[in-house]
Amino acid sequence: MNSVVLAVLFLQGVGVDRTKAPTLLPPPALKLPAVRTAPLPNGLELVVVESHKVPVVDVSLVLDAGAVRDPADLPGLATFTATMLQQGAGSRSALDIADQAAFLGAQLSSAAGFDVATVSLHVPTRRLTEALDLLADVVLRPTFPDSEITRQRELRRTQLLQQRDEPVQVANVAFPAIVYGAGHPYGRPLAGNDSSVAGLSRARVTSFYSTFYHPNAARLLVVGDVTLDQARRLVTARFGGWPRGAVPAAAAAAAPAPAGAARTFYLIDKPGAAQSVVRIGQVGPARDTPDYFALQVLNTILGGAFTSRLNQNLRETHGYTYGAGSAFALRRAGGPFVAQASVVTAKTDSSLIEFLKELRRIRDEAVPTAELAKAKQYIILGLPGDFETTAGAAFRFRDLLIYGLPLDYYAGYIDRINAVTAADVQRVARRYIDPDRFDIVIVGDRSQIEAGIKALNEGPILYRDLWGQVLP
């Protein structure tokens, strides 16, 4: 009773003006974790970020062994090789590796994207030593047994079949295939396709591995509850003897990005689909573009946050979708720009109108001051939180290692975002978003949506299969 009375008095004393948002004190300064490097004599670059708040360590080995290295006749080889690392290594069988990782409480993964392959480990500190033994076997001593090659190949064959049922996956494979064509590495599916899967053999995997898995084309990032000296000792003992090798230059940088054709709709039929999966875009810039910071601001305004224009329009104003957005996939060579959503079938044409309206408006009109400021603040003030967890910090620092950026890069990040003007945003929008040359890929029920798309009068419609290829 007493406490109630006191609390009421206290509240009356303070009062609260709800009519306007509270005035905030200045935001806390960005506090970046220290990052240090210790190159090994064999060329392996060791990068260590210490964080001792929770006894866990996150380790990632980044190799120049991504899908851009896939031979043209064998898309899927890089991702398959990464998968195969865990199917037998040293004296351990595939099942041993899975069992031992789980027993250590370690998450061990190996995967490949377009630019790089990554082998990573997330483990409690007190199991780090044994987990690194496992990691070293997987990276340095994979055995690629024939029986496991066959097993994983058949599993992949099934997964490719199952992928046909998932309209979002179909769109994610078809869109780059249409934008880049089969002649460019970014146009080929990461997991390969029905015809290439048969070609995955021990010989091809071994050859890919011995060509691209070398320390001088790799970086090892350690984030977490370990010191630089400990990390150097542990890593040198396991990776110090990894021999250098000559790694050929990647083809992607050399492959010319296709010149976009006039705006075209590509329809992939999915009878009975409740939604149409929409992907709109074209070839965009590479990660090393000097326009990087302006692009971050541009995309935050257009489709990178909840209050971005595409989501506000298609979701919050019209209710056509659960979420709409956009992204520039910034890679070593020019990756795709894409605007995307899954929209209710009956509003496919209306959604396309709104997409095109927003994608034209961002070019035609300068961004209002308040909207520009909000986007910049969102990027700048959100940065400190990215370094909260070991996995989060590892994600941020891996980016620097993959694209050859200086390790103190984030110290200058805020100033460079702050420097972006409305004119910069409009300039990069005009340069990198070209609605006249969009490829517009739609996975949906043709019988329900075709007439509406035709009536838009925004371009011809072509029909493609689930892989984005011309129908027979």
């Binding site: 406490s3 609390a7 009421v8 206290f10 509240l11 303070v14 609260v16 709800r18 948002a21 509270p22 935001p27 806390p28 506090k31 708040k53 929770v54 595939a94 099942l95 069992d99 789980a102 027993f103 250590l104 409480g105 370690a106 998450q107 997330h122 483990v123 409690p124 007190r126 097993r151 058949e154 599993l155 099934t158 997964q159 079949l161 199952q162 049922d165 309209p167 939604q275 909840f306 209050t307 506000q312 979701r315 919050e316 104003t317 209710g319 056509y320 659960y322 979420g323 929209v343 209710v344 400021a373 909000k374 603040q377 969102y378 959100g382 400190p384 939180g385 370094f387 909260e388 967890t389």
Partner: protein, 463 residues
């Protein structure tokens, strides 16, 4: 783990993270999340945890209402309401909630399960007053701003969420077909959190208003504030912003009688899929009841990763399946254990089901090895540790403090929760496998390609 969680924004499911781990005996420091708690006169419990490692603060509110509080004919309502909570309140115009937060460098989301609805905002530490102002305004001053237009708009968004996450996704309608076979129609777990399209269309403005009056009250919520903040600051601000919100009516929640299956129930669903999948579902134990943690260990032994028994048999050795999944889902009113297996082309579900039954029977007869149990315990322990790294978002420390306050009655239940797992023995797992799986009735749902009912598990051939 809780699987049927719906989010305001599409977000990767945290299934992996919520499966958890042993060997703790040898000197792991106990998990501790020190907190202070106090209750405002209006009944709002506030929980504060200091962590100055990064200059961010998370504000996390749990309202003790979910789809389990809905009634037939109005399913999907708790989740629809969660969406309306972002549409503006008396002092926060529509759209400003997200804009103000983003301009302060913050993010937010909400989620709904059968039992509770939660909301979080994560932002730089200086934005704490803003977050509390926004959250208190929609707790205390939402009612005048609920309009038919807002309800209609979010109804459209939620119907698209249902299309995107269930109807337009292979196997997406399996879960609701399991629930209606596992529970009688009167039981609130018999419908999915997302609800039905018909019921979503039927929700009226008055339904929405009543729901708010009954459930969105300070005495039916807990507020956790975690991160770069002192308890003194948090207390002062919580009192300032939430203190004048009036207490609401006492909430009574449904307490349906326990449900048991008296016979096996078979069902078949034809779907646009290339490969068939069989779902098994059993009634088990509520969250934090005895055997709840043991059931998690059992799920791990059966299907947790590539070293599990069913993965080894079905995917690795026999190569007749492409994947296996198993989990215990303990909720407030009941628990269930699910086991899914997807066939490879050319194999029917009866073949898979025979192996599932063999492996379950083996565990029931002979139990797992000590190593299998330790492996599960170590995996869980590592996951507990990793969840200590973040204060915000779903599954961060603020959210977990509310989770434990709700289910275990005390916010810092981290180590005691982990201890539940570390205590599980092979004999426990054997007993649990027998009692809840091998000797119990279940729902068996076959999802098969259209026009291929012959691929389903046939009831007649079951022992």
């Amino acid at each position: 783990m809780t699987l049927p969680t719906l989010f305001r924004l599409a977000t990767p499911l945290l299934c992996g993270a919520s499966l958890v781990s042993g060997l703790a005996a040898q000197g792991a420091a106990p998990l501790r999340v020190p907190y202070e708690t106090f209750t405002l006169p209006n009944g709002l419990q506030v929980i504060v945890h200091e962590d100055h490692s990064v200059p961010v603060v998370s504000v996390n509110i749990w309202y003790h209402v979910g789809s389990g509080d809905e009634r037939p004919g109005r399913t999907g309502f708790a989740h629809l309401f969660e969406h309306i909570m972002f549409m503006g309140s008396q002092h926060v115009p529509t759209g400003e909630f997200d804009k103000l937060l983003e301009a302060a460098g913050g993010d937010n989301n909400g989620s709904t399960t059968e039992d509770r609805t939660n909301y979080f905002e994560d932002a730089p530490a200086n934005a704490l007053p803003l977050m509390l102002w926004l959250d208190s305004d929609r707790m205390g001053f939402l009612l005048p701003e609920i309009t038919a237009e807002k309800v209609d708009l979010q109804r459209g968004v939620v119907q698209n969420e249902r299309r995107q996450s269930y109807e337009n996704r292979p196997y997406g309608l399996a879960e609701e077909n399991i629930l209606k076979r596992l529970y009688p129609p009167s039981h609130p777990y018999s419908w999915p959190v997302i609800g039905s399209m018909t019921d979503l269309s039927a929700a009226t403005l008055e339904d929405v208003r009543n729901f708010f009056r009954n459930y969105y009250t300070p005495n039916n919520a807990t507020l956790a504030v975690a991160g770069d903040v002192t308890p003194g600051e948090a207390r002062q601000l919580a009192q300032k912003y939430f203190g004048d919100i009036p207490r609401g009516p006492e909430v009574t929640r449904p307490t349906p009688p326990a449900v048991l299956l008296t016979a096996d129930v078979y069902g078949t669903l034809e779907d646009r899929v290339q490969t068939p999948r069989v779902y098994n579902a059993w009634h088990t134990q509520k969250a934090f009841a005895p055997d709840d943690a043991g059931l998690d260990v059992l799920a791990n032994v059966l299907a947790g990763g590539r070293s599990s028994r069913l993965y080894r048999r079905l995917v690795y050795e026999l190569q007749i399946a492409s994947d296996v999944v198993a989990f215990q889902d303990g909720s407030r009113l009941d628990g269930k254990f699910e086991l899914w297996v997807t066939a490879r082309p050319g194999h029917n579900l009866g073949e898979l089901q025979r192996v599932v039954d063999e492996e379950v029977r083996k565990l029931a007869d002979a139990g797992p090895t000590l190593r299998e149990v330790q492996r599960a315990q170590n995996t869980f322990e590592a996951q507990f540790l990793s969840r200590m790294e973040r204060v915000g978002s779903f599954g961060g420390k603020a959210d977990q403090l509310n989770f434990y306050a709700y289910f275990a009655g005390t916010p810092d239940y981290f180590q005691r929760d982990l201890d539940r797992y570390l205590k599980v023995t092979p004999a426990d797992v054997q007993r649990i496998a027998r009692a809840y799986l091998a000797d119990a009735h279940r729902v068996v749902l076959s999802v098969v390609p259209q026009g291929k009912p012959e691929l389903a598990v046939q009831a007649a051939v079951q022992p």
